[in-house]
Symmetry: C2
Subunit: 352 residues, 2 copies
DNA sequence: AGTTATAGTTTACGCGCGAAAATATTTTAC
DNA sequence: GTAAAATATTTTCGCGCGTAAACTATAACT
């Protein structure tokens, strides 16, 4: 039906399976099988013969047959809550690269912001018998028992959003440190900040950041001031914009400094400020200082560029992946649940 | 090794394969097989018996065994050039949803902006014997023969970037219409625009837009004016910002109206303008009007919000997917290569 | 009731490979 | 140079399922 005329190779030896390929090389199939599992595991002489033949007829093992018979595949699942969020797109990208470089086959999935789809994804992933899974759960709205069950069956490292007791390990950023750094900076350089957040955030990090804000303000002897805006879903910029317009049109913020729970909300806030003619920045003549958390990939291109605290993307991705490989080598279980929090870095730009 | 204690189900009937499940139901395995391929294909009475049993022991066919034996899998590959670009993330998201809803199993891949990785992805995808593939190629830098070979072997619908003669169909947006709409609008409402683009764009759409710009300007009797900036890779915002700063510091644009080849470049331009204190917008008192193409997901949150021409994401995703299903049903070949271009919509915001 | 048609079910076989056990080969030690 | 150990290779079996062909039960006609 498709491309019946032969491949581009010359000798037209159409290899259909490992048997035929082994016959062509002149050795038995299981030896070829061993070669594909680990080229080092066969004698150098036979290895060469295989590799020479490989150049002539580009045979590759049937991936389904391989995975059916292997007890553990080389598949690594990567699951994020929402792939259209550049933050997750970026970290997924980094994780994918590491999987490929380590000889794994990444399988990337998004929960599309929906708990039921998250379960579907995990259910589908389970069937793939993955060697391991890197999972950033939806968080608060995740179906906890289902996630837990999955983590019991498949070696899983959680990242970004922690769920206590679930998964063999968690790798993320230190939410307290995010906030302590921004609050510290803002209070040192101007008015203490109020805090701009969603009232019912899906992500548990948001709650930790609010708590950190309270703690820091208390510690520094300032009155905390919370602006919790309405909104659900993953259109954070629009939620932030709407919420901010609402606040601005009702008299504005109580201080000239606003700390946003995350950059996407901050981007929405900046948009609202611009619409209302407020000048944002730390220069004299500005009406408002705005800072935030995450270092979203576009934060440096907002107007003004957004002062924020940055995830150490690289460290998080590295450690999450190496933790997973450790977990896989340990047989899928750690003696104790491992948690690793990386310290964010304050990124001073022009919004605060 | 993992979770040795039984599942949550009651009767502890640990079904290991379809044989056991069929025995439990009391019918033969092939009938069960038929059921899973199409529940309608078995007698209602047996169907009910299967579904009753299914509730008690949540058996699901081994996906590898299924795919090994089926001539065509239910896998649909989705390949984009760069997943960390929100434009592709968004369209990939839409395509994924449609695949799932239609009972396919989407497999999402990014070429990470690299032609060699694009080939790797396609090579890996080929092994999955996908029913079909939705491919947005890297474009100009893609390894043409490899892409062509792949499309010959796997039913493939190209989207976003066309490559003539490759793939059975292409679905995208009409680049000429993008530009004709923006140029028309800009010239009607103010000075004719100069054109801001990358000198060596990876994406072929960029070339078509430049040509369209020339054509439109000529048609309207204005002198075209091109600003082609340096830069490679996928960090378009930064490329746009750097290029714009360069232009601004050397005396600025020749007109007060700039049309950007795409929104990401435009976001960089806006950032540069802000840095240099230029007021962008169509109001009196503004120094520059800026418009662009794509309607990038964040374009409405720039400061000022970006006037642009929007892809009809929905129509493109719908038609790309339905074209693929048509292609699959047609056996992988169309009599004639199908091309479909959707007309973008002008989105007036405040930047121009 | 006796064909024939039709849908449903079963028999029999094969897919392409991994893995343990059995056998052959090479290496090491003395 | 030979026996033991270490390493390679082959034999044999089985994984879980799709599918064509053979078969059987139900329905539809004369």
């Amino acid at each position: 039906m498709r491309d019946p005329n032969g491949s581009s190779r010359m000798s037209d030896t159409k290899i259909r399976n490992m048997e035929e390929f082994a016959a062509l090389v002149g050795i038995s199939r299981p030896t070829v099988s061993k070669y594909f599992q680990d080229p080092e595991s066969v004698r150098p002489s036979t290895r060469q013969r295989i590799e020479v033949a490989l150049k002539r007829c580009d045979y590759r093992p049937n991936i389904f047959a391989v995975n059916q018979n292997r007890k553990l595949t080389k598949i690594v699942g990567i699951v994020v809550p929402y792939l259209a969020d550049p933050f997750f797109a970026e970290i997924a990208r980094q994780l994918e690269r590491r999987c490929i470089d380590a000889g794994f086959r990444p399988a990337l999935y998004s929960a599309h912001g929906q708990p039921d789809l998250e379960i579907d994804v995990l259910d589908g992933l389970r069937l793939l018998k993955p060697a391991g899974v890197l999972l950033a759960p939806l968080g608060r709205i995740s179906h906890r028992p289902a996630i837990k069950q999955f983590c019991n069956e498949v070696p899983t490292v959680l990242f970004d959003s922690n769920m206590d007791g679930i998964g063999e390990a968690f790798v993320g950023s230190d939410n307290f440190s995010f906030v302590s750094q921004t609050v510290d900076y803002l209070t040192r350089t101007g008015e203490p900040p109020c805090f701009f957040e969603m009232k019912t955030p899906a992500n548990p990090n948001a709650n930790k950041r609010r708590i950190a804000y309270y703690k820091m303000m208390e510690q520094l002897g300032f009155e905390p001031n919370l602006y919790s805006i309405e909104g659900t879903g993953w259109a954070f910029e629009e939620i932030g914009r709407k919420g901010a317009l609402d606040i601005l049109d009702k008299g504005g913020f109580s201080t000239n400094t606003v700390l946003c729970s995350n950059d996407r909300l901050g981007i929405g806030l900046l948009s609202a400020c611009y619409e209302r003619g407020l000048r944002v920045g730390r220069d004299t003549g500005c009406d408002l200082r705005v800072a935030s958390h995450d270092d979203h990939p576009f934060s440096r291109f907002t107007c003004p560029s957004l002062t924020t605290a940055a995830h150490d993307y690289d460290a998080v991705a590295n450690h999450a992946f190496s933790t997973l490989t450790d977990l896989i080598e340990a047989g899928g279980k750690f003696d104790q649940r491992a948690e690793m929090l990386f310290t964010p870095k304050l990124v001073l730009r022009s919004s605060a």
